[in-house]
């Protein structure tokens, strides 16, 4: 299953990055959000670290929706989805493969969103950045696990496509909250209180979303229309 997931992820990354499959749209939307929020500041005014972290994660969340819509739409052009369903590996390999590809794309996007947050929102990198980086990874894992599950749900009929954003955002709230609380440490002088608890919450939601992906994916990603 892991080998099949790896091949799916490698193919998706190749299509999205090398063959210009379209990370650009997700990046532009995220950068636009950061830029628009920067306009809310007076000249010389500095946004709070927590406010900046919230905008960073908002950009990341929108980016995640576009990334997973794009990843699952790759299989809809010539019904390659059926081919993936026929492969001699559990169907969860698709969930894992898409999740891995989505995680890489999200991290790449954040590699651009982070310096953009510093520049547009007038932040500076604080001393607790290693912990903030660990938190970023923990939140991204959960976002990828859930995004991969719900991205599969959104494919097919156009009416269902809106499901991804409608269902995704409420479920992501605990993870985003943890990301904002601890992520603000990247832009502040010290770690916020209760950072360890927030990290524990993020890890617990990662486990929950991974479990949900493994159990539910075969019901969502099927050959029946």
């Amino acid at each position: 299953m892991v080998a099949a997931s790896w091949h799916i992820a490698a193919k998706d990354l190749r299509l999205c990055l090398v063959r210009g499959g379209g990370l650009v749209q997700a990046l532009l939307l995220g950068l636009l959000l950061l830029f628009v929020f920067s306009l809310s500041q007076q000249v010389g005014e500095t946004m709070s670290a927590q406010g900046a972290a919230a905008i960073f994660w908002l950009s990341s969340a929108f980016c995640q929706v576009l990334v997973f819509n794009m990843l699952y739409s790759l299989e809809e052009v010539n019904a390659s989805r059926l081919g993936l369903l026929l492969m001699p590996a559990p169907v969860q390999a698709v969930w894992l493969g898409k999740g891995l590809a989505g995680l890489v794309l999200l991290l790449l996007a954040q590699l651009i969103f982070l310096p953009a947050s510093v520049v547009f929102l007038g932040q500076h990198i604080g001393a607790a950045w290693p912990q903030a980086l660990l938190m970023l990874f923990l939140v991204d894992v959960g976002m990828a696990a859930l995004g991969s599950l719900l991205g599969a749900l959104s494919q097919g009929q156009a009416a269902r496509e809106s499901l991804l954003s409608i269902v995704l955002f409420p479920l992501l709230v605990p993870l985003l909250l943890a990301g904002i609380r601890v992520g603000s440490a990247a832009f502040a002088a010290a770690m916020p209180e209760g950072a360890a608890s927030w990290m524990g919450i993020a890890a617990a939601f990662d486990a929950l979303f991974c479990g949900a992906g493994i159990v539910l994916f075969s019901f969502i990603y099927a050959g029946d229309d």
Binding site: N78, G83, L85, L86, M87, P88
Partner: protein, 218 residues
């Protein structure tokens, strides 16, 4: 004769609408079975059930081959348009744990007369070329159970002949083949048996020769 696939009292509904019911049949190795019926009779749905792509509402389907030994060739080409023909084949080969180097894949493209387009993006291919690439994907797997849902759709005469030759070769290799065809009269001479879906039931399951002697027109 070894049975590769068996359906027992199989039924399929979409909501309250029954597609077929009480279908029982078996697909032996080394045989070609034509699946016939009017448009909307449920042939493609039955084939998707046989492939394991669709769940039954009633009854059971038993596969006596491994998932890796099942080949499915339908209307959809499974082609990634931004990948080249070679890259498409390599992806499927890797998914099935097969050798994905050029030396093993190029002969397959040669077999379906696509070798000179091996490095071209398959998005530039015509429908017939994409379907031949799809055929190469199936040939790569060397399936023991081959399910064909109107595989000749979009193929020119030469490509259709190539397809028929590959179907005959698969039978010689011992594969069990189920084939949905629009041209039952034309394809029946290749077939050993025929399943006829009519009025949501399996109205005929028997020898192709006897079916054609009965004067059936499809």
């Amino acid at each position: 004769m070894e049975c590769l696939l068996a359906l027992s009292h199989a039924g399929k509904c979409y909501g309250t609408r029954a597609i077929f019911k009480d279908v029982s049949c078996a697909v032996p190795a080394g045989s070609i079975t034509l699946l016939a019926g009017a448009n909307g009779a449920g042939k493609s749905t039955l084939m998707r059930v046989m492939a394991g792509l669709s769940r039954l509402t009633a009854g059971t389907v038993s596969h006596h081959v491994e998932a890796a030994a099942l080949g499915y060739l339908g209307h959809a080409t499974f082609v990634y348009p931004t990948l080249s023909a070679l890259e498409n084949l390599a992806f499927w080969a890797k998914l099935y744990g097969l050798n994905a180097n050029e030396h093993s894949l190029l002969p397959l493209l040669r077999r379906v007369e696509l070798e000179r387009f091996a490095r071209e993006r398959s998005g530039t291919f015509s429908r017939g070329m994409a379907q031949r690439l799809n055929l190469a994907r199936v040939l790569l797997l060397q399936p023991r159970l081959l399910l064909l849902d109107e595989p000749a759709t979009g193929l020119d005469v030469r490509s259709a002949a190539l397809l028929r030759a590959e179907i005959a070769a698969a039978k010689e290799r011992g594969a069990g083949i189920v084939w949905i065809s629009h041209d039952v009269a034309g394809d029946a001479p290749l077939a050993d048996s025929i399943f006829l879906l009519q009025d949501k039931k399996l109205a005929y399951a028997g020898s192709a020769a006897a079916f054609m002697q009965g004067g059936a027109v499809w």
